[in-house]
């Protein structure tokens, strides 16, 4: 009843799910370790890794069209402009 590709796709989803749980446990654990100012960076890096897993595998963008990939890239770029330009003000107010 279950074809080979069906079973392997299911295995892939379960592996991604397990990876997301491991990264969640990691980000909670590392939050209790004082990394001297790097805690926020590490937390955001782990969150970005989790987001990439979801986008690439659950949302099938890894095998998606160039149109979809460039759409997502454009979205990330605009978000970076929004946050980057705003923070360029806040981060430099004490200069």
């Amino acid at each position: 009843m279950i074809s080979g590709s069906h079973a392997s796709a299911t295995t892939g989803y379960v592996c991604v799910f397990a990876g997301l749980l491991v990264l969640t446990a990691l980000t909670v654990s590392v939050a209790f370790v004082d990394l001297g100012g790097l805690n926020n960076t590490v937390a955001l890096l782990i969150a970005s890794g989790k987001a990439w897993l979801v986008v690439a595998f659950f949302m099938h963008v890894r095998h998606g069209s160039a149109l979809v990939k460039s759409t997502i890239t454009a979205g990330c770029a605009w978000l970076a402009i929004l946050i980057g330009l705003t923070m360029s003000d806040f981060l430099t107010r004490s200069w």
């Binding site: 989803y13 799910f17 937390a43 659950f58 997502i72 929004l82």
Partner: protein, 222 residues
């Protein structure tokens, strides 16, 4: 991709073009959502930069255990959503109904846990407004100076707006999922609607993936 047994609308050349258009349109919608939540993340970033101590103290008052469990619940719902899409593509009706229903249950569980957290915040007077109160002695954190309390109120304001908007998206998603369950029970061909709903559901999952560390995990090492 379920492009073999679908009805092609007259304005599309073929099923593949119709499917690609739906996918592209859904991603454009998700980009507007990125900018909606992005505005809130920007507000969060600027105020956390301005008042780091108050944000850490406020974060300590969120329930880390419930937040972590909810993260796992939502990731699980993304897994069942992906499985539902797989079942829909293969026209496996029983699997589709089962996995869609599991996604609804996990989404409902997330909102249930969230409402327990919200209720605690009301009891602890941590909801911004006239009854907001911060007792430095028991709660720790910065002194009870008026400005510090206002900064804490700001943190909890952002907590409620960001998680509230996220929860609102989940409520809408659950509504769509229930419609899909009904359609699946009738035996309708809904591979593309299931796929588009899955994109939305995973996006909402990603928003939470960023909300969780930014709200629950800051200053835990302090």
């Amino acid at each position: 991709m379920a492009t073999t047994d679908v009805t092609v609308a007259s304005h599309f050349a073929d099923a593949r073009q119709q499917h690609d258009s739906a996918t592209f349109g859904m991603w454009l919608f998700l980009l507007t959502e990125v900018m909606l939540f992005g505005g809130l993340f920007t507000v969060y970033a600027s105020y956390r930069w301005s008042y780091p101590d108050s944000f850490m103290a406020g974060s300590h008052h969120l329930d880390l255990w419930l937040g972590t469990v909810n993260t796992a619940v939502l990731i699980g719902s993304s897994l069942t959503m992906a499985m539902a899409q797989q079942a829909a593509t293969r026209a496996a009706r029983r699997g589709l109904v089962m996995f869609l229903s599991m996604t609804v249950l996990l989404g409902g569980l997330f909102l249930g846990i969230k409402s327990v957290e919200y209720a605690h915040k009301f009891q602890e007077h941590l909801v911004p407004g006239a009854s907001f109160a911060w007792h430095a002695d028991e709660n720790g954190g910065p002194a009870q100076a008026d400005t510090a309390v206002q900064q804490l109120e700001l943190f909890f304001g952002l907590y409620f707006v960001m998680t509230g908007l996220h929860a609102f998206h989940m409520v809408l998603g659950l509504g769509v999922l229930l419609v899909l369950v009904a359609a699946a029970l009738r035996g309708s061909r809904i591979a593309t609607p299931v796929e588009m709903t899955a994109l939305y559901w995973h996006f909402v999952d990603i928003v939470w993936i960023f909300l969780f560390p930014l709200l629950y995990l800051i200053g835990r090492h302090g």
